[in-house]
Each structure stands twice: as structure tokens, then as C-alpha cells.
Subunit: 190 residues, 2 copies
């Protein structure tokens, strides 16, 4: 591996981290390298930087493209492929969320739905279905929320984050106003 020390730490960390997710070491390293690189890199530059085989780079880039985490670029008068990551970290976050949902959540949701359609043939199955139904309900709630907030533009999303739990304070306030309004009207009527 042939990199400035500071970049190397980052790349190595992403490699190790990769294994904790489903991603493998090389894929993590390549991503990290592209992420901090000022310009797009071609496959041979990645080979040199990370000291891995050309074919491994090819396969790992394909993997990263499947995740939409990497962009293919072309320079004029150069027919090699160059790669970068999107600049905007918020966009990266969105992509990551979208892909993980697609791979990890959606399949589970569809398996749960399928099982819940079936007729339980015993008390054990009945109970199992009940538990699965709870899980299904929770996941649906979460994905609905996600589908909803992912539409937001970045600055609104940022606001939402900054606000955090304070939102519920706001809600309490709103509830009070509404209920005050209601009780007032009730009083007037009564």
C-alpha cells in the first residue's frame, strides 16, 4: 500500500469496517480511497495505491457501482475509466439508506407479508404469526417514515435533525392550543 499516512489510516479503517457490514475489505478500501481523492482515479491507480490485483479492483468497482456509491467518469482523449464518489455527503447518505433498505429491509418485509397470508396450522404457528405481525407493523412504520423524509431537500432534513426530540415539545404545544380551542368551544356551547 502506497499512500500518505493520514489517508492510509482512513482507508485501512474503512477496510476493517467493511467486514462489519456485509461489504468486504477491498470494497471498503477502494471506496474510502475514492472518497478522499481530489480527482477521479482509474483502475491502475487504485492497484498502485492499495497493492491489490487488477482483477480484484475490477470486481470491487463493479460491486460499488451496483451500490450506486461510485461514479464512472471519462477524461477527454483517454479511454480508460475513471471513478469518483459523489461530492455531497448527504447524497451519499441517501444512496446508502436506499440501497440498504432495498437489500435488507424490503426482502424481509415481503417474506413477512407472505407468511402472514397463510393459515396457521397449530397454536405454535398462530403465535409465531402474531409475533411476525408485530415485527411487520414496526418495519412498515419505519419504512413509511423513511419514504416520507427522504423526499425532503437537504436543508429541511438538516433542520429536522437539529430539532430532534424537540419536535415533540412543539407537538405538545400544538396539542394544548388545539385542546384549549376545543374546551373553549365546548364551554361556550355548554
Amino acid at each position: 500500500m502506497n499512500l500518505p499516512p493520514l489517508v492510509q489510516s482512513f482507508v485501512l479503517h474503512f477496510g476493517e469496517m467493511g467486514s462489519r457490514w456485509g461489504i468486504n475489505r477491498t470494497v471498503g478500501q477502494i471506496y474510502a480511497l475514492l472518497y478522499v481523492s481530489p480527482d477521479p482515479l482509474n483502475a491502475d491507480q487504485i492497484v498502485d495505491a492499495l497493492g491489490i490485483s487488477r482483477s480484484n479492483v475490477s470486481m470491487s468497482l463493479r460491486e460499488l457501482q451496483a451500490w450506486n456509491l461510485v461514479l464512472l467518469k471519462h477524461l477527454p482523449d483517454d479511454r480508460r475509466d475513471f471513478f469518483t464518489t459523489p461530492d455531497d455527503v448527504w447524497q451519499i447518505l441517501r444512496t446508502l439508506a436506499e440501497e440498504r433498505k432495498k437489500r435488507e429491509v424490503d426482502p424481509t418485509l415481503s417474506v413477512l407479508r407472505e407468511i402472514l397470508m397463510q393459515q396457521p396450522a397449530s397454536e405454535a404457528e398462530r403465535h409465531a404469526q402474531e409475533r411476525m405481525s408485530e415485527m411487520h407493523g414496526l418495519i412498515e412504520r419505519l419504512t413509511t417514515w423513511y419514504e416520507d423524509v427522504k423526499q425532503l431537500e437537504t436543508d429541511r432534513l438538516a433542520t429536522l435533525l437539529t430539532l430532534g426530540a424537540k419536535v415533540t415539545k412543539l407537538l405538545e404545544a400544538k396539542d394544548k392550543i388545539v385542546s384549549l380551542g376545543r374546551s373553549k368551544r365546548t364551554t361556550e356551547k355548554g
Copy 2:
């Protein structure tokens, strides 16, 4: 494997899904089995249900305990260990979030912080640090939000979810009221 068909589908799915996360097949299967089981199970029951070795069950349960995803129970007059999952799916969600943060996010945050402390020795390193700083900023925002929201009781959290992006509508409304108030006062002064 010796399970009601409906439970078996669920268990097998969790096994496959496990590999997409960092978790292995057996661990996923055991978790799924305990999750839908009406009563706590002991290690031998898991061996029978899943058709795997006793030692594998022992190691996998240890793993699940390390994740706080499984509870150890004791029945009167029986010195074997019995295991369940927590009943409340919201609680499970919290645990999962907490553990994944601990394992996947916190280490990255600390590596980033460490690297950002250092003096860049070249333009390449300077640029890399800038990118890492963006990533660090985003992750910090997200974790702050998480720390904030995780304190909420379940029903408040549920409200927050149901509300979703509508919160920003609420904010706009609030902003209008505030700015109206301000411009009114300004007008009065002027």
C-alpha cells in the same frame, strides 16, 4: 431442521439475511427461532429445532447475548439455561440501533477525530482531511439526533414517526407566526 413450515420460512430467511449484515447464519436463525417461540428455549431444544451442533448453539447464544438481543431465563427446579428475546419490538429496535451504533459508527467517529487532529503534510492530505471533516460533521449530526430521539418514550417516538415529513410543515407554520410577530413589532416601532 424440525419446525412448523411457517416458522421454518421465517427462520431460514433470517439466516440468509444474517449474512447480509455482519451476523452469521446460525446466529440469525437462533434469534428468529427465539423471537417467534411462545416460551423460552434451552440449548438442546435449539439443537433439535435447527439441526446444528451443541457447541455452535453455545457460541451463537453468547454472540446474541453480547448484542443484548437475548435474555437468559431460569425455570424453577431446572438448572438449564433458557433463552428468550424481549417481547417489545420497540425495545428490540432500540437495542439494535444502540449496538450497531456502538460497533459501526462510534469507531469510525473516533478514527476520524484522530486523523483530523493531525497536521496535513501535503495538499493531498489537506484535501483528504477536508473530505473527512465533511463526513465527520454529518455523522455527528446524525448521532446527536439519535441520542436525542432515543430518549423518547415509545408512544412519543411513534407519534414522531407517524408525523414524518409533516413536521417541517409545522415548522413553516411556526416560522410564519414568529416572523409575523416580529414584523408586527417592527412596524409598531417604526
